[in-house]
Amino acid sequence: MGLRIRGRAWKLGNNISTDHIISGKYKFKSISSLEGMIPYVFKEVIPGFHEKVREGDVLVAGRNFGMGSSREHAPRLLKLVGVGAVVAESFARIFFRNATNIGLPVITATLVPRITEDGDIISVNLEEGVITNESKDVQERFKPYPKEILEVIRCGGIIEYIRKYGSLPW
């Protein structure tokens, strides 16, 4: 996947949990199919999200995005409905792992999450570590991924990385 992302912002608050992204009670309704869970993504936070989101859109959140359950369905579903990246002030560690493992870029930033409003145009350059809110004309540098993780993202996930290189990075 590309290392540049550009899309509309969806603004979210602090402590967005994996339950918010895909609730356990809906997950168990269609546990055998990831596609079957799509209508329930953010169901109790942003009704109709799966129909409104466009390819490449960027979630912009506050602190501790992805807290709670380890369910990998959360980042997978976000990627599946078209989310191009998640920007937040901080991430819960299992969400960070899972997103990395499946090739969904997650970016830790401070200024952009604070000034961004719904619908702003956000662009990200993962290699250079730059995120821009084009609508507000605000640019921020972030610590780029270690080179191994950047390669995982470029491959589209750690499974694809293993397929290409034959082993885990590091």
Partner: protein, 417 residues
């Protein structure tokens, strides 16, 4: 070195420091019916990964929605059974228990082990002085197939617990108090290491409750040292009790937190966040529709024994349902033999065999619009246990049992002092 650095350094074969990325062998990897299907899918889609590196280091547990509440789940359970048969992997089937509990009871986890589970509450096993952490389905697919896991070495934080709890206060109140103080992202990426004079009074079961909820403050692990208390426990469960294991004196910690347990009163996490913690007096009188005693947090023998002390000779308040679900068949049987289940049944509790069930809103007691629950589980997010307008207060088994009797939140002190 901290306990975390000691365990991980021993595993890598050289001294590691916080921030290092490593790939290590996992001593044990497990997944359940909520996360294994995705792991199996990842394995099936990749020829190189459709194998099991070492079946003795892999476990599957059917626990999240068990027995199946619908046909979709039934299909998934069958998929787990078929995977277990194909690769000779041990499967804990319907009713055997919640993964963290059955793994603890299995005797397969010894101090110093590295354990990964596709469930955030894998941190529970830190009570056995193992480095145990929750990971995703892809991680577990790799661990099943290759026996490996990638990790970033976390910084460690020392959490000193001193003093002794009052009879109506439990380790659940301790961890809720810690969560209220450090907040939901307070220990993100850190390994919490518990020490202090209170440890000798804390059973392994109580420690499991504390380690279990370390993930609610973002911690990567929550470890207790391997001491006498743990050694006696391990002997009962047939684990090689191993050597004593603790951090080096003078180990470098990122920070230190201090808690005095002697003064603590019962704590409650009010909706809709786990870190919205209050002393029970602040929410006293809140009316309750359902009480749930169970889960990987508080579904152990001592939890039900405490609840039974309160429920003995009393009735669950009319109009309130009290759901009691032991965390494993072993716990269920011990409670049955000792007459504890009889006490609960006579009081009017609904008792079920082991499942995560209501904690994740899967089955056996979902909440309707506007309903209020007191639950001994670990999360109270919006809609977690049912309708989006229902509310969940997290509390100890004592506070939960007292709420079942009175139909409102009260301090359980009057029943236990």
């Amino acid at each position: 070195m901290t306990l975390t650095e000691k365990i991980l350094s021993a595993k890598v074969g050289r001294r590691v420091s916080p921030g290092d990325f490593i790939v290590i062998d996992a001593d044990l990897a497990y997944a359940h019916d909520g996360t294994a299907p995705l792991a199996i899918k990842v394995m099936k889609e990749n020829e190189r990964l459709y194998r099991v590196h070492d079946p003795s280091k892999v476990l599957l547990v059917i626990d999240h929605a068990s027995p199946p509440p619908n046909v979709e789940v039934a299909k998934v359970h069958e998929q787990l059974r078929s995977f277990a048969r194909e690769f000779g992997v041990r499967l804990f089937d319907v009713g055997e228990g919640i993964c963290h509990q059955v793994v603890a009871e299995s005797g397969l986890v010894r101090p110093g082990a590295v354990v990964v589970g596709a469930d955030s509450h894998t941190v529970t096993l830190g009570a056995l002085s193992a480095f145990a952490t929750g990971v995703g389905s892809t991680d577990i697919a790799i661990a099943f197939a290759l026996g490996k896991i990638w990790l970033r070495i976390p910084e460690s934080i020392k959490v000193l617990l001193d003093g002794k709890l009052k009879p109506w206060v439990t380790s659940k109140d301790v961890i809720l108090n810690i969560i209220g103080n450090v907040r939901a992202d307070g220990l993100t990426y850190l390994a919490a290491e518990f020490q202090g004079t209170a440890l000798k009074h804390l059973s392994v079961e109580s420690r499991m409750t504390i380690s279990n909820m370390c993930v609610e403050v973002g911690a990567k692990a929550g470890l207790f040292p391997a001491d006498e208390v743990l050694a006696s426990w391990l002997r009962i469960y047939g684990a090689d009790n191993g050597d004593e294991l603790s951090a080096d004196p003078g180990a470098e910690y990122k920070d230190e937190l201090n808690f005095n347990l002697s003064k603590l009163e019962p704590q409650v996490a009010a909706p809709p966040n786990v870190d919205n913690v209050r002393e029970v007096s602040e929410v006293e009188g809140t009316e309750v529709d359902q009480v749930f005693i169970g889960s990987c947090t508080n579904g152990r023998y001592e939890d039900f024994l405490l609840a039974a002390k309160i429920l003995k000779g009393r009735r669950v308040k009319e109009g309130v349902r009290c759901v009691a679900i032991p965390a494993s068949r072993k716990v269920f049987l011990e409670l049955l033999r000792d007459g504890v289940l009889e006490v609960l049944a006579e009081a009017g509790c609904f008792i079920a065999h082991s499942t995560c069930g209501p904690c994740i809103g899967a089955h056996l007691g979902l909440l309707g619009p506007g309903e209020v629950a007191v639950s001994t589980s670990n999360r109270n997010f919006v809609g977690r246990m049912g309708h989006r307008d229902s509310k969940v207060y997290l509390a100890s088994p004592a506070t939960a049992a007292a709420a079942a009797v009175e139909g409102r939140i009260v301090n359980p002190k009057k029943y236990l002092s």
